[in-house]
């Protein structure tokens, strides 16, 4: 592992950060050299964002030390981080779009004469600064006038002008198009040449290989390794990011194997032809049959969630044709999809799933009640009956239907959400990351449930970051990469994690 000849500008050693119940960072080391682009890689829950928040002073560390230019520092907050020369540009640009471009670069340190802001000087300096980044725009226009890419570059200009030695770019490219990414990369290369150390986070593997010199991989809060990008093949990178969680869930094995033998004659429920949404997912074709489990595999940000949302009308597709039972439909909103027997459980359990104030019972009956309308309440006795049945069937703990759902653990909240949709007796159940962040026992139970539902004839679209899980449950696996469905694999003999990882790493193999 060769490293640049100079000393690191930033050196983090044995960083530890604990949240109630979770060890987010467990003895992580991270080094950043001047004049390099260093990619930070990892899946959800790997600890990337925690590490960045530690570095920007949003979180205080529970262990380890941070050295800047060889000196140990304590970063007390975002402002302290900036003063220490660490600046961050987020995907959601943290600027004030109602102010002008020039102000966004200089606010808080405007050039003044006798306490009065010298607008002329400020505009002139802003224009010069942007010119150095190859950006020739009118700096007296409000920032909201410009595209996200330009806004990001303004944010970078601000960071650079504050004398940042360390520039953190947290998923800056997620919503940029190819030429915008290219322009961003040009700016990054220029800064690199000036000796700025850049920490770069992106879910696009191609971009990582194009721009980064070295990369650090995290998984489950632990350091997996630091590599030179050029020396680490993509497949190995993906392997290291995903890992091979071999905590075997035996009871499931036979079941999954058995259920793979599905009848080929099953009717298609849903057919998508060229369905897509600009900026979210490229047009794709997908057919889901009765009783079939279709797994969506791909890295975080590969478009798995975006695809699933289109099939429920949670977001509207802007192109392509969708038909259910052979009849074309436009999924304007979730109600239309629900009427056709589609159910969708979001990956954002807290913000788009449970309603924390309401009880377990109320959360469970919510979707069914919404479908019936408020004038036709489900009789209380019937509610209790259904809820009791599902609390038992899914072993929701504690088995108290009147407890506010926010007091339940993540796994049990997930089961409540599943129950919410199961009682609507859907024909296609879309579940996005149902097993993320929940304990192993609950995870196995949910996987078992999916297998059983499919055996009972329900179609399931299963989205998960864990390949093992997708492999175990799915009849068919759709692989996504960089917002595009790149391959559809029949989950038969010969398909294993290795095979899928290869597709994720390099696009379709055929």
């Amino acid at each position: 592992m060769g490293e640049p000849a100079t000393n690191p500008v930033l050196e983090m050693t044995g960083i530890r950060k604990v949240f109630p119940g979770v060890v987010a960072l467990d003895g992580v080391d991270f080094r950043l050299y001047p004049g390099e682009v260093h990619a930070l890689m990892g899946e959800n829950g790997a600890g990337k964002s925690t590490l960045i928040k530690v570095l920007t002073g949003v979180y205080e560390i529970d262990g380890g030390d941070i050295r800047l230019n060889g000196e140990e520092v304590r970063i007390a907050g975002p402002i302290a981080a900036q003063k220490a020369g660490i600046s961050t540009v987020y995907q959601e640009v943290n600027l004030c779009t109602n102010l002008t471009v020039a102000e966004n670069i200089f606010i808080g340190r405007e050039p003044r004469t006798f306490g009065k802001i010298s607008w002329g000087t400020m505009r002139k300096r802003a224009a010069e600064l942007l010119k150095r980044l190859d950006l020739d725009i009118d700096v007296s226009e409000p920032l909201s006038r410009y595209s996200l890419a330009i806004q990001q570059m303004v944010a970078i200009a601000r960071a650079v002008d504050i004398q940042a030695h360390v520039l953190i770019l947290d998923e800056p490219t997620s919503s940029l198009d190819a030429s915008e990414v290219e322009q961003l990369f040009r700016v990054m290369r220029r800064l690199k040449a000036d000796g700025v150390a850049i920490l770069f986070v992106s879910h696009f593997l191609d971009q990582i290989y194009e721009i980064s010199d070295r990369l650090t991989v995290l998984r489950n809060g632990q350091l997996i390794g630091e590599y030179k990008t050029a020396e680490l093949p993509q497949v190995q990178l993906v392997e290291r990011m995903i890992g091979k969680e071999l905590a075997t869930l035996e009871s499931l094995e036979d079941k999954a194997q058995r259920s793979r033998k599905r009848t080929a004659a099953a009717e298609p429920i849903l057919q998508a032809k060229g369905v897509g949404r600009t900026g979210a997912i490229a047009p794709f074709d997908l057919t889901i049959h009765q009783g079939e489990v279709v797994g969506l595999a791909g890295l975080l940000g590969s478009g798995r969630t975006e695809l699933a949302r289109l099939l429920f009308g949670a977001d509207r597709a802007d192109q392509g044709e969708l038909s259910i039972d052979g009849k074309p439909v436009t999924l304007r909103d979730p109600q239309v999809a629900m009427k056709r027997g589609i159910a969708f459980s979001s990956e954002n359990r807290r913000t788009e799933g449970i309603i924390g104030d309401l009880s377990v019972r109320e959360n469970i009956i919510l979707a069914l009640q919404a479908a019936r309308g408020w004038t036709r309440p489900i009789p209380r006795r019937k509610q209790d009956e259904i809820v009791d049945k599902y609390i038992k069937a899914l072993s929701i703990r504690p088995a108290d239907p009147e407890r506010p759902v926010r007091n339940l653990s993540g796994g049990n909240q997930q089961k409540v959400l599943l129950a919410r949709w199961l009682i609507t007796e859907p024909r296609l159940l879309i579940i996005d990351e149902p097993t993320r962040g929940i304990d192993v026992g609950a995870k196995a139970e949910i996987q078992k449930l999916v297998a059983e539902l499919s055996d009972g004839g329900m179609a399931v679209l299963f989205v998960s970051a864990e390949l093992e899980e997708v492999l175990r449950l799915s009849h068919k696996i759709a692989v996504l990469r960089d917002r595009r469905l790149v391959e559809e694999l029949d989950n038969s003999a010969g398909v294993d994690a290795e095979r899928i990882m290869q597709t994720i790493a390099s696009g379709a193999t055929s």
């Binding site: 829950g45 964002s49 007390a76 909103d333 969708f344 799933g353 924390g356 104030d357 309401l358 919404a370």
Partner: protein, 339 residues
């Protein structure tokens, strides 16, 4: 211990204490006279009817995460419409006509609520601002209806809804009871309450659960408008005239206060009808008591202000934590789950 934790414990305890004070300070707390009940308690119940009605509608609006500032203006309009029409009646004591007129006034109020609801749900304007429009313009409309005069009416059926008695109890109180019963049935016997709490609790999760929030939102503003209209009728019947300046003046603040005292959070979600009723009666009792115990009337508002300040601060989680929290090292950032 569980009783202490109930969010309605303290309001209920304060109300009880105030009532006990009244037992000693008032000449008559409750007596039967000429087949009617009289006394301070009855005055409180009768006097709180308009506030209870307005606060009921406000509760539903707030449960969806909204607010309705226009209730006072709607009260004024409703009273103005009713008095104008009654004055023109050949026989102001014709029960049928008066009832019909009251129905018209309430329908007008409901339409005003529809206007508010449409601005919020369809045009997408923040509730505070949307209802501010009617709050400002509504009183002008009321003045226009009454032509800037105070319209006096001499209609005994109309006066009955404020000052009449039925089965020994004040009619205004019975109307309030009926309204509470209606809203309770409407929200708790149907699924309306659940869906409203869901929309207020998390609009995005509700959308994904297939709830049509727009209709519900419009509906709560219509209900709020109609109930404010009814409250306006009681107010104007009580003074036997339409007063477009003072009818419902500042009642929106009392109503919001009643809702907050009743344990419904201003950000929406869970609501409590019983709590709101308790809150409204508490406010009314407070006003009666302050006078009763000889606190000069000039201190009434100051007293109320102190109560409001304490309530507002106690609603802030951070304040509670800072004041009542145990002494423990403060984390740099409040617990956040890492993404």
């Amino acid at each position: 211990m569980t009783i202490l934790k109930n969010r309605l414990f303290w309001p209920a305890a304060i109300l009880l204490a105030l009532l006990i004070v009244n037992v000693f300070t008032s000449n008559q707390f409750i007596t039967l006279q000429d087949g009617h009940l009289f006394g301070t308690l009855i005055d409180i119940l009768r006097g709180s009817a308009p506030l209870v009605l307005v606060a009921l509608g406000m509760t539903l609006v707030i449960s969806t995460g909204g607010i309705d500032l226009s209730v006072g203006s709607v009260m004024a309009i409703s009273g103005a419409v009713a008095c104008l029409l009654i004055k023109d009646l050949g026989n102001q004591n014709a029960v049928g006509s008066v009832l019909l007129i009251m129905a018209v006034a309430i329908a007008v109020s409901a339409l005003l609520g529809l206007w508010n609801g449409s601005l919020v749900a369809i045009v997408g304007i923040q509730p505070i601002i949307a209802t501010l429009i009617l709050m400002v313009a509504g009183r002008g409309l009321a003045q226009l209806i009454t032509d800037g005069q105070i319209i006096n009416v001499q209609s005994s059926p109309y006066a009955t809804i404020a000052t009449g008695f039925f089965l020994t109890l004040p009619v205004a109180f019975l109307i309030a009871v009926a309204a509470v019963a209606l809203i309770t049935v409407l929200t708790r016997r149907t699924a309306l309450g659940l869906l409203l709490e869901s929309v207020g609790g998390s609009p995005s999760a509700s959308r994904l659960a297939g709830i049509r929030a727009k209709r519900l939102t419009i509906m709560v503003y219509v209900v709020s408008g109609a109930f404010s209209g009814l409250a306006g009728l009681i107010y104007s019947a009580n003074i036997k005239s339409a007063d477009s300046i003072y009818a419902g003046n500042l009642i929106e603040l009392d109503a919001i206060l009643a809702v907050v005292i009743g344990g419904t959070a201003l950000i929406g979600g869970r609501f409590s009808i019983l709590g709101t009723v308790l809150g409204a009666i508490l406010i009314q009792t407070l006003q009666v008591t302050v006078v009763g115990i000889g606190v000069p009337s000039k201190a009434t508002l100051l007293f109320k202000a102190v109560v409001v300040v304490v309530l507002c601060l106690s609603q802030s989680a951070i304040f509670r934590e800072k004041v009542f929290g145990r002494f423990k090292p403060r984390p740099a950032v409040r617990a956040e789950v890492p993404a």
